[in-house]
């Protein structure tokens, strides 16, 4: 049987946009086609708005020179806010983690975004995430507590353990977000590691 010829799009512009959309995470070729044809049928302003938003995303968004969070102003609004507690720095893997923590409204300190986690089997080491920026920041003696808020999977734990080992000698208190049972779960399904840590971290009630 002869190899099937790929279906050529109706125009180069359509084909190019479909190709670009299908490079995005979670978007397959069919979804890419659907979005492209949706845009084709939409009024021109809508397409222009999208194009403008895309261009300004890359032009205006940079990293904060203090905490490495994504921001349009440098320093970012959190680092500039004089109401925040500068003695606490919460270390997260991704900028999205800050959104989740800020949503709680409980934490009033500063952040540091690593933009990744140590993953030895993927070849991601300590120098590939923003550890150098963190260590430089901790040299000025204003930070008294570092809160490790990396994910509780193997990469996050590995990163937290590594940072703890290199920050502790600087005489800064290192704490880790409590690891235990998430709200709304059933005890019988919990694994040994979670239950052990939940028991170790139990509090008077």
């Amino acid at each position: 049987m002869s190899k099937q010829e790929p279906i050529t799009p109706a125009s180069d512009a359509i084909g190019r946009l479909v190709q670009e959309f299908s490079k995005l995470p979670g978007i397959g070729p069919k979804s890419a086609q659907r979005i492209t044809f949706h845009l084709l049928r939409s009024p021109e302003e809508k397409a222009n708005d999208l194009a403008e938003a895309l261009v300004s995303l890359k032009q205006r968004v940079n990293l904060c020179s203090i905490c490495c969070n994504v921001t349009e102003t440098d320093p970012c609004p959190i680092c500039r806010n004089s109401q925040r507690d500068i003695s606490q720095v919460c270390i997260v893997e991704q900028p999205q983690d800050i959104l989740a923590l800020e949503h709680t409204g409980v934490y009033k300190g500063l952040y540091h975004v690593l933009h990744g986690a140590i993953s030895p089997t993927e070849g991601v080491g300590a120098d590939d995430i923003r550890t150098k920026e963190l260590l430089a920041r901790l040299q000025n003696h204003t930070v008294q507590e570092v809160i490790l808020a990396t994910n509780t999977n193997m990469e996050g734990e590995q990163t937290a353990m590594y940072l703890s080992r290199i920050i502790t000698p600087l005489n800064i208190k290192v704490t880790r977000l409590a690891r235990g049972l998430p709200f709304g779960t059933e005890l019988e399904y919990a694994d040994d590691v979670t239950l052990t840590r939940a028991l170790e971290g139990r509090q008077e009630y």
């Binding site: 080491g125 999977n153 734990e157 590995q158 353990m161 080992r165 290199i166 998430p182 979670t194």
Partner: protein
């Protein structure tokens, strides 16, 4: 008769890949099915009932439902052994990940190898308990090579087949073993191995693990042995072992020991 729709197997999770918003593709090493992949839906959501049982380096009983595609779906998991000391220590986690990467690199999918599964579980257990973690890794490397069909010849010269004398001999990754001084020029890349390094390697290649890990090995000898096997592994894989680079980083920063609480 067709295969049952659901099946269950013991497995150690050796690799995890993110898929979509909250799903994962897991690579598992099993005793009877070899290396297999499994699709775990919503594994990365906080309320996932399986997440803790399917973390890397966890020995679990895993239930699969056969799918129409190549990858079966994981429908349940229950921990057999979490190897908790490994999860709680930076150096041990790194050693465990190195072991899992080697297993992943040296095996093909669906090739059952019960001996290698046993070796993996035993090695993770030894990492939790044994004193000299480096020797546990060296012992694993040698036995894993044997299990994968690459056992290095350490007792006789691979060219002239004469028993090696107690002197500095040479190890050639390309020849798959030792060379006597007379034959050492026959291979382009062969490095010298001291008498002590040869003795420790032979001991580690043997069956008696407890005897092998009782040997006192200083840093220089340890590095010599590590470089010999490391060079052979790299030659066979034709690429670097990523987690070995991380182990080197930890050694350089003097973080290569278990943290005392």
């Amino acid at each position: 008769m067709s295969d049952p729709r659901e099946y269950q197997t013991e497995a150690v999770v050796i690799k995890k890949t993110k898929l979509g918003e909250a799903d994962s593709i897991l690579t598992l090493f099993t005793p009877r099915l070899g290396k297999i992949q499994g699709f775990a839906k919503s594994l990365r959501k906080p309320k996932s009932k399986m997440a803790g049982h399917l973390e890397l380096l966890t020995h679990s009983t895993v239930s699969f439902s056969r799918g129409r595609g190549n990858i079966d779906t994981i429908v349940g998991a229950q921990t057999v052994n979490t190897f908790l000391p490994i999860k709680n220590d930076l150096w041990l986690t790194s050693c465990g990940l190195y072991v899992s990467e080697l297993i992943h690199q040296f095996t093909a999918e669906h090739q059952a190898n019960f001996g290698l599964f046993r070796l993996l579980v035993d090695t993770l257990d030894r990492l939790c308990r044994a004193e000299n973690k480096e020797l546990v890794l060296r012992c694993f490397e040698l036995h894993m090579l044997e299990s994968a069909g690459y056992r290095p010849q350490l007792r006789e010269c691979v060219v002239c087949h004469k028993t090696l004398e107690q002197t500095n001999n040479y190890f050639s990754p390309a020849a798959g073993g030792m060379l006597c001084p007379n034959c050492s020029t026959s291979q382009p890349f062969a490095y010298t191995l001291s008498v002590n390094a040869q003795k420790v390697l032979r001991l580690l290649q043997g069956e008696d693990f407890s005897a092998a890990t009782r040997v006192k090995v200083d840093t220089t000898l340890g590095r010599e042995i590590e470089n010999a096997i490391g060079g052979y592994l790299k030659y066979l894989l034709e690429k670097d072992i990523k987690s070995a680079t991380w182990l080197d980083t930890l050694r350089e920063q003097r973080l290569h020991f278990k943290q005392t609480p």
